[in-house]
């Protein structure tokens, strides 16, 4: 099986090729992949929990937002980066998950069904419904390529929010739905910060997503994904069912988006179509491209960027004491402008995204560290 891509791939390879890192060089770490990833997840999780204990409520909310977005960007990276399918509709998939969670939570609350398990249950419902939606889109996507695929997913991005304003009876139009907020369990004490609890829930979701996706990327299925991305004909010759792989990639990615959307809705205990505009779908794609398409670490950068840029316009207009008119205009448009600018700069300076840049930097540093003792010692001697 020749599933590892080579640099001399034929011309019809994915147009995203330039944005992706080269073939994995050198040795694969030995030992159990699952155990290694589990250890990293537990370590990172503990670190974040430690940090949230020191943070003020609003910062914890931002941590929670990053975690919610991480679920989405990680899944999106698998689809775009690993499988080479472009999607401009992930904001709508988030909305699907969010609305499912809201409707489930509302229904449970109306029937006075309460308990710690209601949230995981509704999140699971959100994941399931979104995965189903992903299956439908994926079936169409497997028949389409490049710009046509982008077009279909773009239609999804505009259609889903529109549905919520058409069926006002169910989705309550632009005003949206609200459901009971998550409160920390009583065992944590009366003064426990509610935002910290939200951050923990979001963190759990993000870690679970990352763990599963990291294992998936290293599995046989992960190799199939990359093989299909790099050369469909070669993949088919190697016995990989191309269409099925593509549809499955869409389903996995949609499920992650559904989970992220559900967590995102939980943070404010409300959903409204205004939360999932077309911009969001574009932002999501830009974020993972800027973060670095080739790896899940790039998705972390992307999620951080998405949250940072949400608060940027307010911060700037507050501290720069601009004229009221200019400040007003900036408030609405700055995020998009900054995103575009960052995208251009990153694409020019580091086509592999921020993660690609970081990787290049660490390799150079490592090389320098290895070389320096030798060069320094020689004049001494």
């Amino acid at each position: 099986m020749t599933t590892t891509p080579t640099e001399t791939a034929p011309a019809p390879a994915s147009p995203l090729r330039r944005l992706l890192p080269g073939a994995p060089a050198g040795r694969e770490p030995r030992g159990s992949t699952l155990l290694r990833h589990l250890a990293v997840a537990v370590f990172v999780g503990t670190l974040v929990v430690l940090v949230t204990n020191q943070l003020a409520p609003y910062q914890n909310l931002q941590v929670a937002r990053v975690c919610a977005f991480l679920c989405v960007t990680a899944g999106h990276t698998v689809l775009v980066g690993l499988n080479g399918q472009l999607s401009l509709g992930h904001g709508a998939l988030m909305a699907t998950g969010a609305y499912t969670v809201a409707l489930t939570q509302q229904a449970l609350d109306e029937r006075a069904v309460r308990g710690w398990w209601t949230l995981p249950a509704s999140l699971l419902a959100g994941v399931a419904v979104t995965a189903l939606g992903g299956l439908v889109v994926g079936l169409a996507a497997a028949r389409l390529r490049g710009p046509y695929l982008a077009g279909v997913t773009l239609a999804v991005a505009t259609l889903v929010p529109a549905v919520t304003t058409i069926f006002t009876g169910v989705f309550n139009g632009e005003q949206g739905l609200s459901f009971p907020a998550q409160t920390p369990p009583a065992a944590l004490g009366a003064y426990f910060q509610p935002e910290r609890w939200l951050a923990w829930i979001a963190l759990a979701a993000a870690l679970l997503t990352m763990l599963l996706l990291a294992n998936l990327a290293r599995s046989r299925f992960g190799r199939s994904l990359r093989a299909v991305r790099d050369d469909e004909v070669a993949a088919r010759l190697a016995g990989i069912p191309v269409a099925r792989t593509q549809v499955l990639a869409f389903v996995v990615s949609a499920a992650c988006a559904g989970l992220g959307g559900g967590v995102y809705a939980m943070l404010t205990a409300t959903v409204a179509p205004g939360k999932f505009p077309l911009d969001l779908s574009l932002f999501l794609l830009m974020a993972i491209v800027i973060g670095g398409l080739g790896s899940l670490a790039g998705a972390v950068w992307g999620a951080l960027l998405l949250v940072a840029l949400q608060d940027l316009p307010g911060l700037l207009t507050e501290h720069l004491s601009l004229s009221a008119g200019l400040a007003q205009r900036l408030e609405g448009n700055l995020a998009l402008a900054v995103f575009g600018l960052v995208l251009i700069v990153v694409m020019l300076a580091a086509p592999g995204g921020l993660q690609g840049g970081v990787r290049a930097l660490t390799t150079r540093l490592r090389r320098a560290v290895r070389r320096r003792p030798a060069t320094r010692r020689s004049p001494d001697r």
Partner: protein, 423 residues
């Protein structure tokens, strides 16, 4: 590799145990800390406003006026010696943004209270959060009945007459003046439109036709066409200013002549005329309602005082109904702060509003009482003629239930010196 894994796991478990310890003590200290947003020299309050987006025409002038009024009060020594700092955050009339900025105001900027958060769909979604944080949520700039649920949302208070009260009074005017006419309703596709329709149908029974719009879609043509096809002679309209202008412009374009009866929130003549430009003649004959002194009534002492403040602190904007709204609401807030005493707490401020008894620029009294968080209880009708919006007939009061619409005859109060309330 295995040993490394085990080592990392052990380290992680240790960290987890450590992590659990310092969390609680800190929060307890924070909760016991002194009143958020209040220092010896300042009281910081915040709001969410549509400075951009579909509701910005008109409404973006409200917070500018509120801010100007506070500058005026600050120049006179502030409230109990404290200057009022008013933080205005743009939410673009998008409920998703509102959640974001309100959380920032309360959690990050630590405001003492929220004042005049604007919009029905926007503010509805932050009610739960405001409740859990126990922030005084005063004088929401919207006439939804949602703000009047003291059992569910004990810290939230309305200010303006609610849309059902307005709908009832507008509908009884239509019933009186246009007996037997085909009356239709055009409304925003949320609680704003629904509450208005409820009031209208309470008086008139089912309307002949009803259409709605969503703020993200500027295409009102089909809805107006449907009203025209239904043969409507009177259209009662629950619309924000941008959509009043769109709807009336569209109707004129389609040659659809009906009597427009517009909710106060979307009927400020200055705003609509600016939106319509040289098409503003179609506003002639538009009936609406108000409960504050009319901006074109230059003999009114309130208008004179507010205009003076406007020229000093807010000259870049037009003096219109939105500005008067901003000044009047800020005036009520200063009354509430004065009533809360020299050492304000969130509880004292809420108690002060619940006691009520404020009189100010409004034509009718507030309804604040124990168990009632609703603002003004009535309106007076206005009509546009010869390019000016003026009052006609008496003021009316009613409730949001099935109470009767009654005339209100008490004369309005005069402003204090410099329009700054005294304790």
């Amino acid at each position: 590799m295995r040993t490394t894994t085990r080592r990392v796991l052990a380290a992680a478990a240790g960290l987890a145990l450590l992590a659990a310890l310092p969390a609680c003590a800190d929060d307890e200290k924070q909760a016991a800390e002194n009143v958020p947003g209040v220092s010896d020299s300042e009281v910081v309050i915040g709001t969410h406003q549509p400075l951009t987006g579909p509701a910005a025409p008109g409404y973006s002038k409200i917070s500018a006026a509120t801010k100007a009024y506070f500058e005026h009060v600050n120049s006179k020594g502030g409230v109990h010696g404290r200057k009022i700092v008013y933080k205005v955050m743009d939410d673009g009339y998008n409920p998703a943004n509102t959640e974001n900025v309100v959380r920032k105001l309360v959690l990050d900027d630590k405001v003492f209270a929220l004042l005049g958060g604007l919009g029905t769909p926007t503010h509805t979604n932050v009610l739960e959060f405001v409740k859990t944080q126990r922030v005084p949520d005063l004088f929401v700039a919207s006439g939804s009945r949602n703000w009047n649920q003291p059992d569910k949302y004990p810290t939230t208070f309305g200010w303006q007459p609610d849309y059902t009260v307005e709908g009832k009074i507008l509908a009884s005017y239509v019933k009186r003046e246009f007996p037997g006419a085909k009356v239709c309703h055009f409304g925003q596709n949320d609680d704003f439109g629904r509450d208005s329709l409820a009031g209208v149908e309470q008086v008139l029974g089912p309307v002949a036709a009803k259409q709605t719009y969503t703020t993200t879609n500027q295409q009102v043509g089909p809805a107006i066409g449907a009203l025209r096809a239904a043969g409507c002679q009177v259209v009662i309209s629950a619309t924000i200013p941008g959509f009043t202008a769109l709807a009336m412009g569209q109707a004129a374009g389609q040659g659809f002549k009906a009597q427009w009866v517009v909710s106060n929130v979307g009927a400020d003549y200055t705003t609509l005329a600016a939106q319509l430009g040289d098409k503003k003649v179609i506003l002639e004959g538009m009936v609406a309602d108000n409960y504050l002194p009319n901006v074109s009534d230059t003999a009114n002492p309130w208008i004179q005082e507010f205009t003076k403040i406007h020229q000093k602190y807010n000259a870049g904007n037009p003096v219109d109904g939105n500005a008067i709204y901003g000044y009047s609401m800020a005036y009520t807030f200063v009354q509430a702060m004065l009533a809360a005493g020299p050492d304000p707490t969130r509880e004292k401020l809420i108690e002060a509003v619940r006691k009520g008894g404020f009189r100010g620029p409004g034509l009718v009294p507030f309804r604040y009482a124990d168990g009632v968080h609703a603002g003004y209880g009535g309106v007076r009708l206005t009509k546009v003629s010869n390019g000016a919006q003026a009052y006609f007939g008496p003021a009316y009061t009613t409730d949001d239930g099935d109470g009767a619409v009654t005339e209100f005859t008490e004369p309005p109060t005069a402003p204090p010196a410099d329009a700054v309330p005294t304790p």
